[in-house]
C-alpha cells in the first residue's frame, strides 16, 4: 500500500483518500468547520489548512480537499500553521460573529467556540460595526440567527444533495452572504431538522430545544425512534442525574426534570438511518408528557372508576379470565412494545390461554410466509443503495420518511425508481422517481402486469421491490412470486406497525382485526386485551368497532395513553413507553436494536413484560424472571431467530432463515431435474386479476404527521397539521363529476373539498387525523368506500 508522512510518521492510504481522512483515521487532530464526513467537501472555511511538501516545494493546502499522493510530506503543527493560518482564519471568521455565546443555545457544543479557545487569538483587531441581517423564522423546528453564520455551506449542501430540497440556499456574496429561503414563508422539507445538527455553531438552532438546557447538563441515552418500523437510531437527551450531594438540581428537579425529554439527536448507523433523521423522528417526543397519560391501575365497577394497586388488579383480572374458553379470548395490539414484552405475552396467549384470536392490522393473511416459507424480507435497507431498479408500492414520504434519503441518493446515482400510488407524491413530483398512478380498483391488474415484467426479467440488474405488508393478499403474493423468478431481485417488506417483525418472530401469527371484531359482534368473544393501541383512532370502521366493543364484557386496556376506546374498558393498566423502559425491537429488515431506559416510570406505570409476568405467575407457572436480562436469556434459548443475538453489544441482525435462491439458479443447481425440485414452488403461480368497474372512491391515505400514533400528539407539528380542518383532496375532473347529493353528503360530514390535480381520476383522498373525535365515516374493510 502507498504511504504518506504526517508529522514525521508514516501512514498507509487508499487511492482517492484525502489527507484529512487519513489523519483522522490515525487520531491526528485537524480542525474543520465546513467538512462533514457524510457530504462532499467544498474547502470553504480553510481552517483545515496544512503544509504539504512534495519534491522540495512546500505549499499550504486544505486537508479536506487534497488527495493523498505518494512521497507527500504533511505538517499539521508547524509555527506557520499554528500562528498564521489557524489564528488568522479564526480572526477572519470572527469578524462578524456576535459575542452572544451566553445566550446562544449552541454554547458548550459549538465548534467555533471550542476551536477559538484552542487556536484563536484572545482579541480582535477589527474596530468597525458588525454586519447585521434581519431575523426570520421559516420553520417551527429551527431557530435561525443569520448574524452568527460563518458561510461554511453545510446546511445548503445538505438541503440540496441529501434532503433533495430546493428552496433553502445561500444567497448573495461575501459580506452580505446569508442562508435562507427565497420569497417563502415555511420550509416544507421533511428532513430540515438535520440542519441544526450539522451547523458547526449556533446559526441554526433546534427550535424545540430553545433556552431549555445547557449541553453539560444533558445526558444522551441510546434509543430507537418509535414512529415507524425502520427503527432509526437516536439519542434521547435528558437532564443528568446528579448525585444527591448536588442539592439544587435535586430539589424540585426530581419530579419534573427526570420525566422530560429535552431533545432528540441522531445516532450514526450507516445500515439504518445513516446519521440523518426525519423531522417526525426528531421532534416527536412531547407525547411523553401528554395530558392523557394514564397514571394508576384502575378498575371500573358499576360505572365508577377506582384506582387500585397492581397486585389487586392482576388478581382481579386472573379471577375473571381463568375460566374462559380459549376461543373467547382475543388480543389486539399495534405491536408498539418491545420484543421481551412480546415474548412474555406469547407465553400467556399461546401457551396458557391457547387463543388464536390475535390481530395486528387490517389485513392479516400472510402472503409472505406462503411464498417465502418464512415471514421476513430478504433485502436489507442498505440494499437500496446499490440497486439498479427500485420498485415501490405506496407512499414513502408519509409513512417511512427516513427511507427518502436513500431513494434520493440512489436516484442521483442513476437508479431507476418506480413509484406505484394513487396520487403523485413528492418523489414523483420532484422527478426523483417515475410515477405510475392508478385507481385502487385497478391495483390487482397493475400489480399483475408488473409481476409479469419482473418474472420475465425485464428489469436488468439488481432490483429491489419495496412493499408495505398491508397490500391486498393477491397483489403481495403475485409480486413476491415474481421476485423469486427474477435473476437478481430482492424484496424489502415494510412493516406498517413499528415492532410487527418482532411480534411475528416470537411466534405470533397476524389475523385481521376485522375478523376478531366480527366475532365480537356475534357475541363470541368474552375477554379482549387491547394492548398499546386504540381501535377507534387507528381503524376507520368506527361504528362497527364501537358496537363490537360494547358487546365484550371484559376489556383489558393496556396502554400509556387514555384514548377513545378506554371507555369500554373494565381494567385499565398504565404501560411505560419506549423511553421509560429497557428493551429491544426488531426492525423491518430483521435487525434487533436495543433501547435503554432514559426516564423514570410515569407515576405507577409499569413495562408490559412486568404485567404479563404477573399474569403468568397467577396461572401457576413460575418463570424465574427478575429483570429484562433473564427474558433475553430465555429468548435466546427458546427462539431460533434470537439464538445468536448479543444483546450486550451493538445491535445486529437476528438469524436469517436458510436463504432461498432465485428459481432459475435452483433449476441450474438441480440440473433441470424437476423430480428433485422443491415441491413448494410448483404451486406458486401468479393469480390473474379480476376486472372491476371504476367508481368514485374515498381513500384513507397516510399523512406524515397527522396519521402517526406518536407525532400527532405533539404540538410542534400543528403548524403543518392544522388539526381542526378536515379536507378531501381530488382533481378537478373528479369534483366536477360528483353529483350534488354526493357533495352534500361530504359537506354534511364537515369536509371541505380541495382541488389537487396530482390525484388520479375518481379518487378522493382523506388523510385521517388521529385526534378527530367527530370522525364518522362508513368506510369498508380496506379503508375506502364508494360514494
Amino acid at each position: 500500500m502507498p504511504k504518506i508522512v504526517i508529522d514525521k510518521k508514516e501512514y498507509e492510504f487508499k487511492d482517492g483518500e484525502t489527507i484529512l481522512e487519513v489523519a483522522w483515521r490515525n487520531n491526528i487532530f485537524i480542525p474543520v468547520f465546513c467538512y462533514h464526513p457524510k457530504m462532499p467537501y467544498v474547502a470553504a472555511c480553510r481552517i483545515c489548512n496544512v503544509e504539504v511538501r512534495i519534491s522540495n516545494s512546500t505549499r499550504i493546502m486544505p486537508a479536506c480537499a487534497t488527495l493523498c499522493q505518494e512521497n507527500m510530506e504533511i505538517i499539521t503543527n508547524s509555527n506557520v500553521i499554528k500562528n498564521d493560518i489557524q489564528k488568522g482564519v479564526l480572526e477572519l471568521l470572527l469578524l462578524n460573529h456576535p459575542l452572544d455565546c451566553p445566550t446562544c443555545d449552541a454554547g458548550g457544543e459549538c465548534d467555533l467556540q471550542e476551536l477559538t479557545l484552542r487556536f484563536g487569538s484572545d482579541r480582535s483587531r477589527y474596530e468597525f460595526p458588525k454586519r447585521e441581517f434581519e431575523r426570520k423564522n421559516f420553520s417551527p423546528f429551527l431557530d435561525l440567527y443569520p448574524n452568527r453564520c460563518i458561510e461554511c455551506d453545510r446546511c445548503s449542501r445538505f438541503f440540496h444533495l441529501i434532503g433533495g430540497g430546493t428552496e433553502w440556499g445561500t444567497y448573495n456574496r461575501g459580506w452580505y452572504e446569508v442562508f435562507g429561503v427565497w420569497k417563502k414563508e415555511i420550509i416544507e422539507n421533511e428532513f430540515s431538522g438535520n440542519m441544526w445538527e450539522i451547523c458547526p455553531l449556533g446559526a441554526i438552532n433546534d427550535g424545540s430545544y430553545k433556552f431549555k438546557a445547557r449541553p453539560w447538563e444533558i445526558e444522551s441515552i441510546e434509543s430507537i425512534a418509535p414512529d415507524d418500523s425502520i427503527g432509526s437510531n437516536i439519542y434521547v437527551d435528558i437532564r443528568k442525574k446528579y448525585p444527591k450531594s448536588r442539592g439544587p438540581f435535586e430539589i424540585g428537579g426530581r419530579r419534573t426534570n427526570l420525566f422530560k425529554v429535552y431533545r432528540i439527536t441522531s445516532r450514526d448507523n450507516p445500515k439504518v438511518n445513516d446519521y440523518w433523521l426525519s423531522d417526525r423522528e426528531r421532534y416527536s417526543y412531547s407525547w411523553i408528557n401528554a395530558n392523557n397519560r394514564i397514571a394508576y391501575p384502575t378498575i371500573k365497577e358499576n360505572g365508577t372508576y377506582r384506582s387500585v394497586n397492581w397486585e389487586y388488579i392482576l388478581d382481579a383480572i386472573y379471577s375473571d379470565i381463568k375460566d374462559v374458553n380459549s376461543e373467547e379470548v382475543a388480543l389486539i395490539t399495534s405491536a408498539r412494545s418491545s420484543n421481551e414484552s412480546a415474548y412474555l405475552s406469547k407465553i400467556l396467549f399461546k401457551e396458557i390461554l391457547f387463543t388464536e384470536n390475535v390481530g395486528f392490522s387490517e389485513i392479516g393473511e400472510d402472503a409472505i410466509e406462503e411464498v417465502f416459507g418464512y415471514s421476513i424480507s430478504n433485502a436489507t435497507i442498505s440494499d437500496i443503495d446499490d440497486a439498479k431498479n427500485i420498485i415501490i408500492f405506496g407512499d414513502i414520504k408519509n409513512s417511512f420518511p427516513i427511507l427518502g434519503i436513500r431513494l434520493i441518493r440512489s436516484s442521483r446515482n442513476g437508479a431507476n425508481i418506480f413509484v406505484y400510488n394513487y396520487y403523485k407524491e413528492r418523489y414523483i413530483l420532484e422527478n426523483w422517481a417515475k410515477g405510475i398512478i392508478f385507481h385502487p380498483y385497478e391495483i390487482e391488474k397493475v400489480a399483475y402486469e408488473l409481476s409479469l415484467k419482473v418474472k420475465n426479467n425485464e428489469f436488468r440488474g439488481k432490483t429491489v421491490l419495496i412493499l408495505p405488508d398491508n397490500l391486498p393478499y393477491r397483489v403481495l403474493r403475485n409480486l413476491l412470486i415474481a421476485s423469486i423468478y427474477h435473476d437478481n431481485a430482492k424484496v424489502l417488506i415494510l412493516r406498517t406497525k413499528p415492532n410487527k417483525q418482532g411480534f411475528i418472530d416470537v411466534g405470533f401469527k397476524d389475523k385481521s382485526i376485522y375478523e376478531i371484531i366480527e366475532k365480537a359482534n356475534l357475541g363470541k368473544i368474552k375477554v379482549l386485551f387491547l394492548w398499546h393501541t386504540d381501535l377507534l383512532l387507528e381503524y376507520p370502521n368506527r361504528s362497527e368497532i364501537e358496537s363490537a366493543l360494547s358487546k365484550i364484557p371484559i376489556v383489558i386496556y393496556i396502554s400509556p395513553f387514555a384514548d377513545y376506546s378506554i371507555k369500554y374498558a373494565k381494567y385499565i393498566l398504565p404501560e411505560t413507553t419506549i423511553f421509560e423502559e429497557d428493551g429491544s425491537r426488531t426492525n423491518t429488515e430483521g435487525r434487533v436494536q436495543i433501547h435503554k431506559q432514559a426516564l423514570l416510570n410515569y407515576e405507577d406505570s409499569m413495562p408490559s413484560w412486568w404485567i404479563f409476568k404477573g399474569l403468568i405467575k397467577r396461572f401457576g407457572i413460575s418463570l424465574k424472571i427478575d429483570s429484562i436480562e433473564d427474558i433475553r436469556k430465555l429468548m435466546k434459548k427458546e427462539i431460533y431467530y434470537y439464538s445468536e443475538v448479543d444483546f450486550d453489544k451493538r445491535p445486529r441482525y437476528r438469524n436469517y432463515p436458510p436463504f432461498i435462491p432465485s428459481i432459475r439458479k435452483l433449476i441450474k443447481y438441480y440440473e433441470y431435474d424437476l423430480a428433485k425440485y422443491p415441491m413448494r414452488y410448483k404451486n406458486l403461480k401468479l393469480i390473474e386479476p379480476e376486472a372491476k368497474e371504476v367508481k368514485p372512491l374515498v381513500i384513507l391515505s397516510p399523512h406524515i404527521y397527522k396519521s402517526s400514533y406518536y407525532a400527532s400528539r405533539c404540538e410542534i407539528f400543528y403548524s403543518y397539521i392544522k388539526p381542526y380542518i378536515r379536507t378531501i383532496e381530488a382533481n378537478s375532473k373528479t369534483i366536477a363529476s360528483l353529483s350534488i347529493d354526493e357533495k352534500f353528503k361530504l359537506e354534511d360530514e364537515e369536509f371541505s373539498i380541495v382541488v389537487n390535480e396530482n390525484v388520479v381520476d375518481n379518487v378522493l383522498i382523506y388523510r385521517p387525523l388521529f385526534f378527530d373525535s367527530k370522525i364518522n365515516l362508513y368506510l369498508n374493510k380496506y379503508g375506502s368506500r364508494e360514494i
Binding site: 445548503s156 440540496h160 430546493t166 428552496e167 433553502w168 440556499g169 445561500t170 444567497y171 448573495n172 456574496r173 427565497w182
Partner: protein, 169 residues
C-alpha cells in the same frame, strides 16, 4: 404572462443551447438573456429558465445573487451605475451620486415613477483613467461630473439604446 417575451426567451435559449452544451455553463448567459428581455430577473422568466434547463428557480437565484450585474428587482428602462471606488471617489463621485439622487428623486435601486430610470453604486469597473466612470445600460460613460450627468438624464438615448445586448464570448 407576456407571451411575446416568453416566445423570445425560448428562441434565445434554443440558440444558446447550441453553444453551451456542458453542465451548468449555460446558466449565466441564459440569465443575461432573461435580464435583457424583462429588464430584470422576473419570476416568470426564471421559471421558464428553470424548466428549460432542468434546474430550480432557487438554484438560479443563488447564482444570480452572487453577481452584481443581475437584478432581482425591477429596474428602469435606463439603469445607471456610478463607480465609487478609490480613483472615482477622489474625483468627486459622491457629488455625482448626490446630483443623481436630487434629479431623479429616488434612492439607490429604486425606479422613478415614470419607469425610465434607476441607479446604483458599484465597485471598480477598470476605467480608473477616466474618472468618474459608470455605465448606462451597460454602455460606458466616463469623465462624469455634476453637469454632464444632467445631460445624460435628459437625453439618455444619445448614450445607449433602450436594450443593450451583452455580447458573450
Amino acid at each position: 404572462m407576456n407571451l411575446e417575451k416568453v416566445q423570445e426567451l425560448r428562441e434565445e435559449l434554443e440558440n444558446l443551447k447550441k453553444i453551451y452544451k456542458k453542465g451548468n455553463s449555460i446558466i449565466i448567459p441564459a440569465l443575461w438573456r432573461v435580464q435583457e428581455i424583462y429588464g430584470y430577473l422576473s419570476d416568470e422568466g426564471l421559471e421558464i429558465l428553470a424548466n428549460e434547463l432542468n434546474t430550480t428557480k432557487e438554484k438560479l437565484l443563488q447564482v444570480a445573487t452572487f453577481y452584481h450585474f443581475f437584478h432581482t428587482k425591477p429596474t428602469g428602462k435606463y439603469h445607471i451605475y456610478i463607480c465609487t471606488n478609490v480613483s472615482c471617489m477622489l474625483n468627486f463621485a459622491y457629488e455625482v451620486v448626490d446630483e443623481l439622487r436630487n434629479i431623479l428623486k429616488v434612492n439607490e435601486n429604486e425606479v422613478t415613477p415614470d419607469g425610465m430610470f434607476s441607479w446604483e453604486e458599484i465597485e471598480c469597473i477598470g476605467l480608473c483613467d477616466q474618472p468618474v466612470a459608470g455605465f448606462i445600460n451597460m454602455k460606458r460613460i466616463t469623465n462624469l461630473n455634476k453637469d454632464n450627468i444632467k445631460d445624460i438624464i435628459e437625453n439618455p438615448q444619445n448614450y445607449a439604446p433602450e436594450k443593450t445586448k451583452i455580447e458573450l464570448i
